[in-house]
Amino acid sequence: MIEIGDEQLHAAPDASLTGNLINQSGQIVNVAHVLGTFYDKSGQVVWVADQYVDIALLPQNPVPFDIHIPEDLAKNVSSQRTVVATYSFGGVQ
């Protein structure tokens, strides 16, 4: 179970979605893939971006992520939905 904490949309310039991945399980997560979906005011998808965090998630250790949003699209982004997919050696979480 991975908590996506402190999710924040940052406006241009350097528009991005930032947050922390917090491993709420008692098991090390070796690979974490963050996928951000960005919507405009009417709920239409305007951009999708992702990031693999480059370190394993130890239990309760927040690991930051930062997903860049293209400058020209950032002004249209009104909300986002972020999900994380994980892999642990020895089994999928």
């Binding site: 179970m1 991975i2 908590e3 996506i4 904490g5 402190d6 999710e7 924040q8 947050g19 917090i22 709420q24 972020t82 999900v83 994380v84």
Partner: protein, 289 residues
């Protein structure tokens, strides 16, 4: 030059007589034959000839004694369609067309039921289409009543009857309120064909969570998650817990296990907690401890 004129006149007279005589029919054929049925063709005159029956996917050849009847046993012509009968003698060839119609008794049904899996409680969510064939697999185009029946494991059933048109009949059914394996059957007289339709729970309904302090952390747990008809939503369905605090947002996606979703996390006092599954929103809790 003179002797030629009488011969010319005689020739013209013979030709005129020949044209004036009605055309002699060398044989007769039925206007229509039912597929698989026996039939006969009567010929006239003397001598021998050959009769050819040419149709879709089938050609028959018979030696014929003119003046006699040629009999075709049941099962000789199986495929429905337009046929051509050609009688070829030593000095003539004559042809006729006739139809072979599908047999009137249905023998097989081609039954297409869609989808094979759907959520409960969908109006007109299940469609069934039937094509009616005779024992030679000809599409029977004469209208006939087709009964569709969707029955649940508990025995309750929806029934519809539709008349086939050009060989096809169709209907739509509502998926029932209970999850399970339903049987979808199409009947035409004694003939039937059955399909299985799996009905699965719909979206969660009345999604509700509660929160309680466990040491320094907080346990968020849903009530058993059910759809609007009371069916348990399957394990693995993702439930999203969201915490909003100081303009920031945290989310946890957690699949249902044993019918509930549960997370234990740290939450600041003043946080607004909410729960959702897909597009279905649940309750909201203000956490002040």
């Amino acid at each position: 030059m003179r002797p030629r004129l009488p011969f010319l006149l005689i020739g013209l007279a013979v030709a005129a007589i020949h044209l004036a005589l009605p055309q002699v029919e060398r044989f007769s054929s039925p206007k229509a034959v039912e597929a698989g049925a026996g039939f006969s063709m009567q010929s006239t005159g003397n001598g021998k000839a050959t009769l050819y029956i040419i149709g879709p996917g089938q050609v028959l050849k018979r030696d014929v004694q003119l003046g006699e009847s040629t009999t075709f046993s049941p099962g000789s012509l199986c495929y429905a369609g337009r046929y051509l009968a050609v009688l070829a003698g030593e000095s003539f060839t004559e042809s006729r067309s006739f139809d072979v119609a599908p047999a009137s008794k249905p023998a097989t049904l081609s039954f297409i039921a869609k989808p094979s899996r759907l959520p409960v409680g969908l109006h007109d969510g299940i469609t069934g289409a039937v094509y009616v064939f005779d024992s030679y697999h000809n599409l029977i185009t004469t209208p006939m009543p087709v009964t569709f029946e969707l029955s649940t494991a508990s025995g309750t059933a929806q029934k519809r009857t539709a008349a086939s048109s050009d060989g096809a009949a169709w209907t739509s059914m509502d998926s029932t309120a209970r999850q399970g394996i339903d049987k979808f059957v199409a009947h035409v007289g004694e003939i039937y064909s059955a399909r299985i339709v799996a009905q699965v729970p719909g979206d969660p309904c009345g999604l509700k969570m509660s929160a309680r302090q466990i040491g320094e952390r907080v346990q968020l747990i849903t009530d058993p998650v059910r759809d609007c008809n009371g069916n348990a939503v399957p394990d693995g369905t993702v439930v999203t817990f969201t915490a909003r605090y100081g303009g920031k947002q945290s989310t946890i996606d957690e699949p249902l296990k044993h019918g509930v979703a549960e997370v234990i996390t740290q939450i600041h006092s003043g946080t607004t907690l909410s729960v959702a599954s897909g597009v279905v929103m649940g309750n909201q809790i203000g956490w002040d401890k």
